[in-house]
């Protein structure tokens, strides 16, 4: 592919408000051919510089190099700190998705307070992901592309320790023990 094509891909990625997939770029430029190699070439061109092209869930965007954060941080007010409940809930959703509210509560052993899921959804990191086909048809939640983008993950497989946790059986579906039942019923009373 020509350099002109690369330039076009670079311009699109630069100007876009959201990360772009190879398909997005292909649709925009009228051809899918060479998009991936152009993306790779651009990423390579920027690799060691102040701006990097990074993949987030199959979509690419430009961001400043991570090691420069100390120089840039003071320009912005730091984003509001996520509460511990929020952080745990987000982690549970990310590692178990799609996951229902009851399942999140079973893992945490405590009822989710009203605001917790709202905060995560408002931040755009979590969204409803359909209902589970079981009695009560509970709504499930999953993370969004914005979650991957915000936390700098190329892919859900990039989640720290994902493989180890799975190997240890810690990501298996929550089994319904007598203990779970008791805890959950007490949650529902609240």
């Amino acid at each position: 592919m020509t350099t002109d094509f690369q330039r076009a891909v670079e311009a699109l990625l630069f100007a876009s408000e959201t990360p772009l997939s190879a398909d997005d770029i292909g649709a925009r430029l009228g051809t899918d051919e060479g998009v991936r190699s152009a993306i790779e070439a651009i990423a390579a061109r920027h690799a060691r510089h102040g701006i990097n092209l990074v993949e987030r869930g199959g979509r690419w965007h430009f961001q400043t190099a991570a090691d420069l954060s100390h120089l840039l941080r003071e320009t912005r007010e730091s984003s509001r700190r996520l509460s511990r409940a929020g952080t745990e809930t987000l982690a549970i959703i990310a590692y178990h998705e799609p996951v229902s509210r009851a399942e999140i509560e079973a893992i945490r052993g405590v009822q989710i307070s009203k605001g917790t899921l709202d905060v995560l959804m408002e931040a755009g990191w979590v969204s409803p992901a359909g209902r589970r086909e079981m009695p009560g048809r509970p709504l499930t939640y999953a993370t969004t592309p914005a979650f991957l983008r915000h936390f700098g993950l190329s892919d859900r497989r990039d989640l720290p320790g994902m493989d180890d946790l799975r190997a240890a059986g810690l990501l298996d579906p929550v089994v319904d023990t007598g203990f779970d039942g008791e805890l959950e019923s007490s949650d529902e009373d609240d």
Binding site: L12, F14, A15, S16, E17, R28, H61, F62, Q63, T64, A65, A66, S69, L72, R73, T75, R76, S78, S79, L82, R84, A85, T87, E88, L90, A91, I92, A94, Y95, I107, R108, G109, V110, Q111, R149, H150, F151, G152, L153, L159, P160, G161, L165, A168, G169, L170, V175, T177, G178, F179, E182, L183, S186, D187, D189, D190
Partner: protein
């Protein structure tokens, strides 16, 4: 069990009995896989005895957990026989798994937050131009559409005219002159059918019959002919007067 351990625990940071259990387990400073569930149960119950009265009396969850743990402990201490299924070892194992799972998720959350977070560690363009998509409509119309539309417009403009199409008829005048012309050649009483011209068009035929009848009535009135009919619906007979 070391009393000092739980006194340093920060209760405000805890949410629910599982979190408390996890905090207690961690305070033993051994691998969660090696933790003694029995010791943990004692710690939990002891903690509730000490702190619960002041701070946990509202928390039903803690008391439910305490009851369940007391039950688990008694099962673990009882002789092995006559145990229900799942056995106490299995229940203890599941509790341990849950603690491990919660611990893993807490760890994972912390690791997530430690990543290069957008807006904190890495930055994206504050106000990108965005990629605009403009919809452009190509309007379609054919020349036929155009002139047909003009025809419609013109038709709407003109006053509506009703025009009755002319239908084939034999006029009264024609019937009169035909009968008068034929009278000289016909001597005796003759049926009216003879005076009606033969027509192919059935409408014209009916018109011819009607006009001929009217013409005979007119000629009879003038005294040119006589009319006779033997019975209703019998043939109308004509004779020169």
């Amino acid at each position: 069990m070391n009393d000092g351990d739980f006194l340093t625990l920060d209760l405000d940071g805890w949410e629910g009995p599982l979190n408390l259990l996890l905090a207690l387990a961690r305070s033993q400073k051994v691998d969660l896989h090696q933790i003694s569930i029995l010791a943990l149960v004692d710690q939990y119950l002891d903690y509730l005895n000490r702190a619960g009265a002041e701070r946990l009396d509202q928390a039903a969850d803690y008391l439910v957990m305490a009851a369940w743990l007391a039950y688990l402990k008694s099962c673990l201490l009882l002789p092995r026989a006559e145990q229900e299924d799942p056995g106490p070892e299995e229940l203890a194992f599941r509790l341990q798994q849950r603690l491990l799972r919660l611990d893993a998720m807490r760890e994972a959350g912390a690791r997530l937050l430690a990543r290069d977070v957008v807006g904190r560690d890495v930055f994206i363009r504050p106000a990108p131009e965005g990629l605009a998509t403009e919809q452009r409509v190509t309007w379609q119309a054919s020349l036929y559409d155009l002139i047909a539309a003009y025809g419609l417009v013109q038709m709407r403009r003109v006053p509506v005219l009703h025009q009755i199409a002319r239908r084939p008829v034999l006029s009264l005048e024609a019937a009169l002159s035909r009968i008068e012309a034929m009278l000289g050649r016909i001597g005796d009483w003759t049926a009216i059918a003879a005076f009606v011209p033969k027509q192919d068009d059935p409408d014209l035929q009916r018109s011819a019959l009607a006009s001929t009848v009217v013409a005979t009535l007119e000629l009879a009135r003038r005294g040119v002919i006589d009319l006779r009919q033997q019975a209703p619906f019998a043939p109308l007979m004509i004779c020169a007067a």
